[in-house]
């Protein structure tokens, strides 16, 4: 099952433009609604990894949670231009709490 997949980057234009130079699929969006729609669309299509800026991710928990327990796509948060909000780190913390039942690290 070694099919080829796409890597997508979703975020505001300034944050994602650089990834275009690397040959990734970039989807500049301006609103959270637009981003949600895009994530759903990409999840149905052949997209294995979606990089999403934290600025957008903070308002679309529901969509991210929907794909959390599925093998594909992996939604990975990256800091946008305005800097890291610590959501990515928090998510790791929450995964630990979920597995262990307590924060142990």
């Amino acid at each position: 099952m070694a099919a080829t997949y796409q890597i997508a980057v979703i975020g505001d234009w300034e944050s994602v433009m650089g990834f275009r130079a690397l040959g990734l699929d970039t989807y500049p969006v301006t609103s959270v609604e637009e981003a949600k729609e895009k994530v759903r669309e990409l999840a149905k299509a052949d997209c294995a990894v979606i990089y999403l800026t934290e600025q957008l991710a903070k308002d679309m928990e529901d969509v991210i949670a929907r794909y959390k327990d599925e093998l594909r796509p992996a939604i990975i948060l990256i800091p946008g231009r305005e800097g890291s909000l610590g959501i990515g780190k928090n998510n790791i913390q929450r995964a630990i709490e979920r597995a262990v039942g307590a924060d142990i690290l």
Partner: protein, 234 residues
């Protein structure tokens, strides 16, 4: 205390004993699975934390370079420069099985005409800062992909651990004690029935003995009577 709705029969007892044995074996296996998963999970999570910190830091540097670049160039020129990429990335996904959890493994190939020339623009109309930014981004991208792989693995493993933990607890604190309780109840009931039967049999035996004794006695008395009656006239 468990509500007991089992019928106290030998067949039910055999069935429950089998059930208890299966439950105990399942409990042990699931416990082992949970422990091993937890070990793997904690290793992965440690890796994710350090890698995420690295990636976030490096990405911020990249963003800074891009900010500088966009300050030196007009946004139209910048957009134009990055509009058409020279290289393309292809990702293949295979999955690896860690303790019955399928985690993704990514492999990517970049398709480019030459490795040294990844800039999708001419150097005349762009600033040098843009080169630096694109270069740095290319480097951090490797790490980002690795991060995607292990972070997704950690998420999937967390889910599986949660499930396994619940199963272990359900077996340990509900299923096994309930079955043990039911088995105890049936054994007691069967023993009680046994004792009741013994007592009843003893009682019946007593009654029969008494009856036959009585019969014999009356027969003897009659015999003595007739014997005595026959002797008298002599």
């Amino acid at each position: 205390m468990a509500n007991i709705t089992v019928s106290p029969t030998r067949m039910e007892l055999t069935r429950l004993k089998g059930k208890l044995r299966t439950a105990q074996r399942g409990h042990k296996l699931l416990k082992d699975k949970r422990d091993e998963l937890m070990k793997q999970f904690l290793d992965t999570v440690r890796e994710v934390r350090s890698l995420r910190a690295e990636v976030e830091e490096e990405l911020m540097t990249v963003h800074k370079s891009f900010t500088v670049a966009s300050a030196l160039m007009s946004s139209e020129a910048l957009e134009q420069a990055l509009l058409y990429p020279k290289q393309s990335v292809e990702l293949t996904q295979t999955s690896q099985n860690i303790m019955s959890v399928n985690v993704p493994v990514y492999n990517f190939q970049t398709k480019t005409r030459s490795d040294s020339d990844i800039y999708p623009y001419g150097f005349a109309a762009t600033s040098g800062e843009l080169d630096t930014a694109v270069d740095a981004l290319g480097k951090v991208f490797q790490k980002m992909l690795k991060l995607a792989e292990i972070e997704k693995s950690a998420q999937l493993m967390a889910e599986e651990i949660e499930k396994t933990r619940r199963r272990v607890n359900a077996l340990e604190y509900v299923m096994i004690p309930n079955t043990q309780e039911a088995i105890r109840y049936i054994t007691m009931k069967l023993d009680e029935n046994d004792r009741a039967t013994t007592t009843r049999l003893m009682k019946v035996k007593d009654m029969i003995l008494k009856e036959s004794l009585e019969e014999k006695r009356s027969e003897t008395a009659k015999a003595i009577e007739t014997f005595g009656a026959g002797e008298k006239p002599v």
